[in-house]
Symmetry: C2
Subunit: 151 residues, 2 copies
DNA sequence: GTAGTTGCAAAGGGTTTGCAGAGGG
DNA sequence: CCCTCTGCAAACCCTTTGCAACTAC
């Protein structure tokens, strides 16, 4: 199932670039595979390091260009975890989720609450907006940092 | 009432810097006044332009340094409206609020929903987190862009 | 007076771009 | 074969920093 999922994500990307006359290359396939396999929130530099480990000839610019392509193909999302870095997570095969971010250690977990989702829709409608997306980040102390706080 | 509000904000800032041995200067007072008077979401450059209009001798670096001070004094908040720029809004005298942002025209309005606020707390607690802040941005089409969409 | 503050300009960090050569379709 | 893609390095943008002169306290 995992492999099947990865394959279809790759197909989505291939279709996306074929549609606009772009090309599938060794570098793009490699970056795509690594990015999709990695759960969590990668900075461009972290992704570049992972790619370099597999193929040291790939350039940083290619990683940046690929991040843009993946965003356009709706496979990647840019998130701001408040650490000053830009970070990306992959969307495909992921249910939508929000973030619970520890201000002390920076750890971020993904959460979802259907009740909140519904209220967001309702709130937007109340103001005459048609909602297409949202981002919710909750900041606080994670359980282990909370414990340390006490001593 | 407006004036009284502005005065107390300034006092808060003065106390904040006095506490740590900093000083109140002509430039800081000017930037603070302009920033507090301006509702909405200013980029550092926009703030710098407004300041320059009143006093062309003020440098860009001073504006950046002041933005940091105001954040530390809890008078300013950094927000990401997805246009690639960093933006700041003032907090004091503002109730907490979230954003409803139009993806077409970029217009952002401020909203709040008590029910959502409560559920955010609950969600964090469920995961063992102690919540200290959050940011919620809803993206979609504003009423007027929605209308244009139809034709 | 003595720190903290300022404007300037240079440095810094992250991201984008111009280019000549490589390589997909 | 044509046109896109690549790696490199330089350019770029926004933000921070080093410094000598200045100024609040």
């Amino acid at each position: 199932m995992k492999t099947a999922g990865a394959k279809s994500e790759r197909r989505i990307f291939e279709e996306h670039i074929a549609e606009r006359g772009f090309r599938m290359t060794r570098q793009r396939a490699l970056i795509l595979d690594i990015f999709l396999k990695k759960e969590g929130h990668l900075s461009p530099e972290e992704l570049y390091d992972l790619v370099k480990a597999k193929d040291p000839t790939v350039g940083r610019a290619t990683v940046y260009r690929m991040l843009r392509l993946m965003r356009e193909a709706d496979l990647a999302r840019k998130v701001d975890l408040g650490d000053g870095l830009s970070r990306y997570e992959h969307k495909y095969g992921h249910a939508h989720h929000d973030h619970l971010i520890c201000l002390r250690c920076g750890k971020a977990i993904e959460v979802v609450d259907e009740e909140i989702e519904a209220l967001q829709e309702k709130l937007a409608r109340k103001h005459g907006y048609k909602l297409t997306a949202h981002e919710m980040d909750l900041f606080g102390l994670c359980p282990s940092c909370k414990k340390k706080e006490r001593k």
